[in-house]
């Protein structure tokens, strides 16, 4: 296990290095400059600012300098907020993003499992059909459309939840719902297919022959076996939520890293773009690593280590 972990962590670092490199050079191809009012500045002023931020050096030198800093944990200072180091900017804003992200994936996956399982148990009934409709809607409606609809109906018309801003749990409900729709739909669809498969397998037949009740069969044998493969799609679902959160955070004015990311790209805030890219890639790699480890824990057939017999 330790050897496996070490290997995976090495790959994680390698992945981050590749992501940093590719993003760095792509970012330099972005049109525009970090300067907001370039027209009002004289050539010497621009040169001075460039020198101050190290932008006068050739791109490869900037890259080497950035890497050298990043290894030491120094991700530079933001261009937009001139005094704020990128690391501070991110750490002070990551909490809201993590909160709605986690809430969304937990709510989405759990409700998805329930819907999917009922759909499979009552195959081809109205329950199943409505479960399918919910999944199709959840997959086809983009989170930002849903976000606006939720804002309008639940927020503005019914007044149940605040429309935007940040401050306490009630502010997280609408963004969570908007983000949860996609993982809910994905996992409902996935669990239904898996469960239909599992329910027609021989070991379910044997479980029935043992005299287990219908719910006993589902609870003791069908559920675990149909949920195991779900772990494989939790990684991609997390990605979905991360990308979705960039737009949704903007819509609900949530002071998270998603909103910050969009702002930094619009203003060519190079250090912040780099920092956030690293954070996103890191979170993604960790999610994938965790799902792989989890898979081994819940499925005895693919345990990484075992007794040596």
């Amino acid at each position: 296990m330790a050897k496996y972990l070490a290997k995976r962590i090495f790959y994680l670092i390698l992945t981050l290095f590749i992501v940093i490199t590719v993003t760095f050079f792509l970012m330099k191809l972005l049109p525009g400059t970090p300067l907001t009012n370039q027209a009002k500045l004289s050539k010497s002023q621009i040169a001075l600012i460039y020198k101050q931020y190290g932008l006068d050096k050739p791109v490869w030198q900037q890259y080497v300098l950035y890497l050298a800093g990043a290894v030491k944990g120094n991700f530079g200072t933001s261009f937009q907020f001139s005094d704020q180091p990128v690391s501070y900017l991110i750490s002070s804003r990551i909490e809201p993003s993590l909160q709605i992200g986690l809430q969304a994936i937990i709510v989405g996956v759990i409700v998805g499992i329930i819907i999917g399982a009922f759909g499979a148990m009552k195959q081809n009934s109205w329950v199943d059909t409505s479960a399918t409709v919910v999944s199709i809607l959840g997959i086809s409606i983009p989170s930002f459309v849903l976000a606006v609809l939720l804002q309008y109906y639940l927020g503005l018309k019914l007044g149940w939840f605040p429309i935007a801003e940040w401050g306490g749990f009630s502010y997280t409900v609408l963004p969570t719902l908007a983000l949860a729709a996609a993982p809910l739909a994905e996992s409902a669809r996935f669990v239904r297919t898996e469960m239909v498969d599992v329910l027609s397998s021989d070991y379910i037949e044997l479980a029935k022959a043992k005299g287990l009740s219908r719910m006993g069969v589902i609870y003791h044998h069908a559920l675990r076996n149909s949920l195991i493969p779900l772990i494989t799609i939790v990684g991609p679902l997390a990605v979905n939520i991360m990308t979705g959160s960039m737009v949704v955070e903007n819509i609900f004015s949530i002071p998270g890293i998603g909103e910050q990311f969009v702002k930094s790209v619009l203003t060519n805030d190079y250090p912040t773009i780099m920092g956030l890219t690293i954070v996103y890639s890191f979170m993604l790699c960790v999610v994938l690593l965790i799902t792989d480890i989890l898979y081994g824990i819940v499925d005895p057939r693919i345990r990484i280590t075992g007794k040596a017999n």
Partner: protein
Amino acid sequence: MDNEKDILEVRNLQVDFKTYAGDVKAIRNVSFDLRKGETLAIVGESGSGKSVTTRTIMGLNASNARITSGSIMYKGQDLLKKSEKEMQAIRGQDIAEIFQDPMTSLDPTMRIGRQIAEPLMIHKGMKKEKALKQALEMMKLVGITDAENRMNDYPHQFSGGMRQRIVIAIALVNYPEVLIADEPTTALDVTIQAQILNLMKELQDKISTSIIFITHDLGVVAGMADRVAVMYAGKIVEYGTVDEIFYNPKHPYTWGLLSSMPTLDTKGDELPSIPGTPPDLLDPPTGDAFAARNQYALKIDTEKEPPFFKVSDTHYAATWLLHPDAPKVTPPAQIVARQKQYAKMQKDLLAQQQHHGPVEEEEEQQ
């Protein structure tokens, strides 16, 4: 045929399957008895209705199955009239089943000790620890070595033969009265097959259960069964003791089955086979369903269904060839040879009886 030795009496069972194309008449008026402690083999080709019969007994038919008539009497009660809840109490307790493929019939994510203990926890209300202890005994009984350690293993850590032993342990852990074995050795290597069959026979003696043994393999039947019922197109066409079916078969379908089974005496380059395919049970033919594939078919076979004709007290066959007015036909050479052998066996037996008295006969019947 009604007698107190019968543990299961199936009468006039008819099962249809609703499909888009129409009603498939999978079981057409099947009756048979299972006696206490015996092994009854139900033999037939794929689609003859063997498995549907056993599923109906278990009450585990697919949702599109309709039982249109008949009764299944178990200890004086009709299983077909029981509710799902009542059937749950019977399954795994009174009637247990072993399935065909041990590679897929165990839950891949549950430790096998727990899987064997489960029927005890369901039916005997045992706590997990106690049930596991009893499961361990069962594992030893079915011949799993190092059972103490292996009960914490998962199915993928066992070979096919070992897994079938585990499935047998699950089925027998509650000492059921009736064990249904649905082709339990089909998916196994020939050498393992023999081991599993021996194990089943040995356990049958130990826990005195009655077995319904479903198979298409006549070779397995010979060593395993006391009585044999031959099924064709959803009907039983002939039944009798193993000797009667193997050495004195009367139905042309049984002839065909036996001829197509290679024996040490089989000569020539080609193994005989039964021509044609089974009839479409969406629209079963009138008369004898086997008539179209039967080289000995009479005209009446296509018009009227043959009733059961009595051959002996234990041996019945549904073929018009047994009617007193039917022309005499000569069965395939291999069957004639078998019948000769049978006649000789009967003669020897008779001679022996006259020699030693009737004690020998009783032993023979057991």
